[in-house]
Symmetry: C2
Subunit: 134 residues, 2 copies
DNA sequence: AAACCGGTGCAATAGAGTTGCAAAGTTTTA
DNA sequence: TAAAACTTTGCAACTCTATTGCACCGGTTT
């Protein structure tokens, strides 16, 4: 799918900036943080990127990941993702190369919660060493 | 067990400050962040609390939890905890009262990782509404 | 053309975490 | 017991990410 169409499909007006950012995200196979994203460009404003990511997130183009590094990371949503609990997947953070990956082939296992606890979201991050760093 | 003994058992010198902090932690049934902890006292230094928590963590009296709120929370380890993956448990964060609880009755379910990924730690936080807020 | 509006850029702020340094307190050693 | 050595504590300062306010710019509508 063309990048522009992807934006339109999620009701995001395709500005030059947004096309650039989405392209960068699509070129990646790991999640990216704001500062990292900033470094992929020669000269952009951090705030603009910040708001671009927020916009993408609100429109479910990307989801945010808190991998415990203190920096929020973002990764592309899968086709048709609504960011509901059942759409969520595990994330893996490599303690060596510090990359964070989506583990999309396994869903998050269900956990028995104590009585009367209502589930709304799940965040599961596994840390270790990724295959490239082995 | 007396509070002082608990410290000694984990090889932490029982200073007045540490006794106070550990007591506060034991009075709680939910995890606590640095700022919250600070507010439980009339007049303490943030840095001292910070370092006290770090010391406790290093000596496995408490474990830290990243519940995605941006503030690291701390909660008492269970008896005999070595903070290994198999000692870890799920945490529950209430979106209403913002408290974070340890769900100690269920371990973290194992997840099949992609080939050649090595697990070292797991952080699993479930968000929703706790029984008190229902 | 004027008013409007979303998007962008710059500057400034907020808040958590962290570090350096010196004072106070404890323990060890001569 | 006194001096030296080490640990803990308190204060101040700083880092870094996230976030907000405000002004400007470009395109669109009236």
């Amino acid at each position: 799918m063309k990048i522009e169409d992807k934006l339109l499909k999620n009701k995001v007006k395709p500005t030059a900036m947004r096309l650039l950012v989405l392209r960068k995200l699509m070129e990646r196979n790991s999640a990216i943080g704001l500062t990292e994203l900033e470094n992929l460009f020669d000269k952009v404003d951090r705030t603009t990127l910040y708001r671009t990511l927020k916009t993408f997130e609100k429109n479910k183009l990307i989801h945010s990941i808190d991998d415990g590094t203190g920096m929020t990371k973002y990764a592309l949503c899968l086709e048709g993702c609504e960011c509901n609990p059942e759409d969520l997947h595990v994330h893996f953070h490599c303690n060596n190369c510090k990359e964070t990956f989506c583990v999309t082939d396994t869903g998050i296992p269900l956990v028995q919660l104590p009585m009367n606890f209502k589930l709304e979201e799940i965040n599961m991050v596994i840390k270790g060493i990724c295959s490239s760093c082995k």
